[in-house]
Amino acid sequence: MYKSEVRGPLILGDKNYRQISSDIIAPIDQPIPTWWKAVFGISMLAFLFGLVAIYKTVVEGIGTWGVNNSVGWGWEIINFVWWIGIGHAGTAFSIFLLILRQKWRTSINRAAEAMTVVAVMAAALFPALHMGRVWLAFYIFPYPNTRGPLWVNFNSPLFWDFIAISAYLLISASFWYFGMVPDFATIRDKATSKIKKAVYGFFAFGWTGSSSEWLRYEALSYVLGGIAAVLVVSVHSIVSTDFAVSVIPGWHTTVFPPYFVVGAIFSGFAMVMTLMIIIRKIYKFQDYVTNSHLNAIAKILIFISLIMGTAYATEIFIAWYSGSKYEMFTFFKNRITGDYTFQFWAMVVCNAFIPQLFWFKKVRQNLTIAFIISIFINIGMWYERFNILITSLSKDYLPSSWVTYSPTWVEIGIYIGTIGMFIMGVLLFFKYIPMIAISEVKSVLKVTSLNKKEKIHASHE
């Protein structure tokens, strides 16, 4: 039977199942490398700095931030949206590609999901702190209480946001964990030390890989994949309603939900690319995360970048077409020109233009350039959120309430702290969890490996 070879083999080298297990488990067995300790130490320092900033915020209140009456949302909400965006990669990768039966996801989904869980935890920190009195954050749970009983406002996007983020965190974490169970069993059964056998054995939940377990495992993964696919679209749509339902120039537009969702997937994919290039370089996983995998991500990034460019153009066109002078002012006098020109053009260049370099095959295959572009996208996505928030809030309807905004060290500290937390989480993942889904990679070995292809060709000749 002829099979088209649109994509290269997914697993290079003449691997067998045993090699796959031992290659992927290798980093767990080896002693902790020096670079790991160094980077972990630095990110721990960053995290501690963040904790100091959080302490300051909690003890003294959000008056320690640079936000004011006009710019009520500053770096915290920018960073919240930025982290949630990055956290979209896991679900986009494992769930969309699972439903679309894209086999190339198998080498990447585990790392993408791990990243998602840490990124969403980082994101959830910001709205919680923004409440001001974080110890009363539980008020947002709709539970019978002695305050009336006063229920939460189910019509408020801020409440939807709370529901969306907590559900997203819970669901992506359980999806991630459940995918790891068979791999923990593999580590358990290959372990030589008693402690490791006991620890991974505990986390493997008594998995044996019998046909009745696989039957339900497969059924569960399709049920969860199918139902959670909605989340990829819903979470960031809901985040966008935080902005879109308020009557602020530059926010009050119907394009916001799709624009936010696409942006989120864009930054998620870019961060996955950053991470996978690092993983394959450091851990020598070139046989599993092949050029063809990164090529596929790069091609998706071109496409999403075009959508981003279209969304920017649409916003500007609609601002002019609406005839609203406030919209016109925001876009033409406060974004394209004006105080925030740099941030606007940084966003456009990083998100809409630079990724277009991926049209060239040479750029896609040069991992250094691909890595740099993926970093640019993440910077560009940060500027996008800066643009949306700060330009709209700083100069709204009344010139008498126009202000400029700059963050204080506390706000910057919390941001640095979340970056430290993210890197720490990712490093722990590198060390203690199989970075590639072992059982899933095994399931695509015979279908797509180089070994198999050569055999097919040999049998035809």
Binding site: F154, N155, F178, T186, G206, W214, L215, R216, I227
Partner: protein, 175 residues
């Protein structure tokens, strides 16, 4: 469950499938098959089915109905608030929370169902006949009594179909 079992170890999925079809045709009852990754052919050949998707649908239905009823109760019956004369039963703005909570219900309930039905939970005592089956081997396990009662020799069939090892073992429970 007798404690004496016959174990056939294969290093290739095609050999496993050939042996599986052969022993089924000869009428042997297979105790269980262990594979390193999910194989639909094995699940089908073992004749196993699950009503998981139906259960998930029920969870989703109950979740959606439950959360809508809850919001109706809080916003209309228990504490109606007048938002500029808008109806208290603001159905369109309930949709978002309903969708998300439905997904959450399905996910959590499905995970618990999986844990119960597949018997995968922390601290579970498990039986793994051959440790290599989570790594690179495909393992077929028979109850010894089944193997003895039949006319033809099970061991020979397994070897003929490409088993790299066939041995007898007393299965033990591990934690």
């Amino acid at each position: 469950m007798s404690k004496n079992h016959l174990i056939g170890v294969f290093d290739d999925e095609n050999a496993l499938m050939a042996a599986l079809h052969e022993v089924k045709a000869k009428g042997f009852e297979i105790w269980e098959v262990f594979t390193p990754y999910p194989m639909h052919e094995v699940i089908e050949a073992m004749g196993k089915k699950t009503r998981f998707t139906f259960a998930a649908f029920i969870y989703g239905f109950l979740g959606a109905a439950g959360v809508l009823a809850f919001m109706y109760y809080t916003a209309v019956i228990d504490w109606p608030i007048n938002y500029g004369g808008k109806p208290t039963n603001a159905f369109p703005s309930f949709i978002v929370v309903t969708v998300v909570i439905t997904i959450l219900t399905v996910t959590l309930a499905s995970l618990f169902t999986f844990s119960l039905r597949a018997k995968i939970y922390p601290g579970k005592a498990y039986i793994l006949p051959d440790k290599r089956s989570t790594d690179d081997m495909f393992v077929m396990v028979f109850d010894k009594s089944v193997a003895k009662n039949a006319g033809s020799n099970l061991e020979d069939i397994l070897r003929e179909k490409g088993a790299i090892e066939v041995y007898e073992k007393e299965l033990v429970t591990e934690i």
